[in-house]
């Protein structure tokens, strides 16, 4: 290490803004109760997905949200069998996303095939652009890649598979905005973004 270079790791370690030993006051019991509530809601009332989440989507996005709802509400072969609990209630996060508007409000929307995945970065070969242009896009999709993919109402992305993808900036959106390709859904996306 040159004289001019600091040991940034050591300095960062000293600047840790939140140590585990000095957590702010919080209730473990309350946090645990929150987890139990989410799990119980998922397992006993899958229809408890707030209507506002579904209503916040318009047109095709509503269909996508509905598809996502079905996706999270019923066992799917590609999903881990795990406990007898469906895919959970992603609405707390998806509700925020839905409030940003429907498909038409996105920076990009396209029909594309995944050609490469590098960590969070996914490269798509674009078959048809609905919003935006280009033959290829490399986008960030941290929720939809790797072993820890959380798949909030969207499928985990795989090389060679074809998807309908929408997002903003360089981020792929989950919550029904990215879906496995189908001709029906693609036609619907095209109509919605004309």
């Amino acid at each position: 290490m040159s004289k001019l270079q600091r040991d940034v790791i050591a300095d960062l370690r000293a600047s840790n803004p939140q140590s585990v030993e000095q957590l702010p006051s919080y209730s473990k019991a309350r946090l645990w109760a929150r987890i139990e509530e989410k799990i119980m809601t998922d397992s006993t009332k899958p229809s408890a997905v707030p209507l506002r989440w579904l209503l916040a989507f318009s047109g095709t996005a509503l269909a996508a949200a509905a598809a996502a709802f079905i996706f999270i509400s019923s066992p799917t072969p590609s999903l881990p069998t795990g406990p007898s609990v469906p895919l959970g209630n992603p609405t707390a996060i998806c509700a925020d996303m839905a409030s940003m508007g429907g498909l038409q409000a996105r920076d990009f929307a396209f029909d594309g095939t995944v050609t490469a995945i590098d960590g969070d970065q996914v490269t798509f070969s674009i078959n048809e652009s609905f919003i935006g242009s280009g033959n290829q896009m490399t986008l960030s999709a941290p929720e939809l890649t790797g072993e820890t993919a959380i798949m909030l109402g969207s499928p985990a992305l795989e090389i060679g598979s074809r998807y309908l993808v929408a997002g903003d900036d360089n981020f792929v959106w989950t919550c029904g905005f990215t879906q496995t390709y189908s001709t029906e859904l693609a036609a619907d996306w095209a109509a919605q973004t004309r």
Partner: protein
Amino acid sequence: MNAADKQRLESLFAKHQAQILAFAIRRTGNLADAEEVAAETFVVAWRRLQQLPEPALPWLYGVARRLIANQRRGARRATRMQDKLIQESQVSSSGSKMGIDDQLLEALSRLKIQDRDLLQLVAWEELSHDEIAVVMGISSNAVAIRLHRARLRLNQELSDSVVKDSALMRTLRWYKGRSASRQREARP
């Protein structure tokens, strides 16, 4: 929830909830958001209880990281990371802000998210390359290479800050000198 699954999840929660909450506070900057992320992380763990790797902590960090990314984007918070980091430094109620290096955190905030994640995971979560590989979904070799580059980039950002500060200080000194000179000249 059957008894065996509940016991397993409870055990996972007891073992790792503090680390996951601290991880989330460092990145969201507030306890409410961090608690939501922590709760969602354990719900995802519940869904995949049968597939959880051992050790589970890097995997849990990976899930929490993705939830935070989603939350940030979903809410489309315009707050700059720089502000978030400053907020983060204010979250701790312990008063342990003596070691916080604002210049370093500001330089960190100017890095790309991938670089920032790597450096934070090494420094704050104190993870090994193999563990970071699990969190970020890349190979250990890629972690090593990218970490090396991230360190260089952070050092470069810090050097740039010093240069900018020096230039600012020179300007200030010149301005003060000029003002003093004018005041002297103005005296009868």
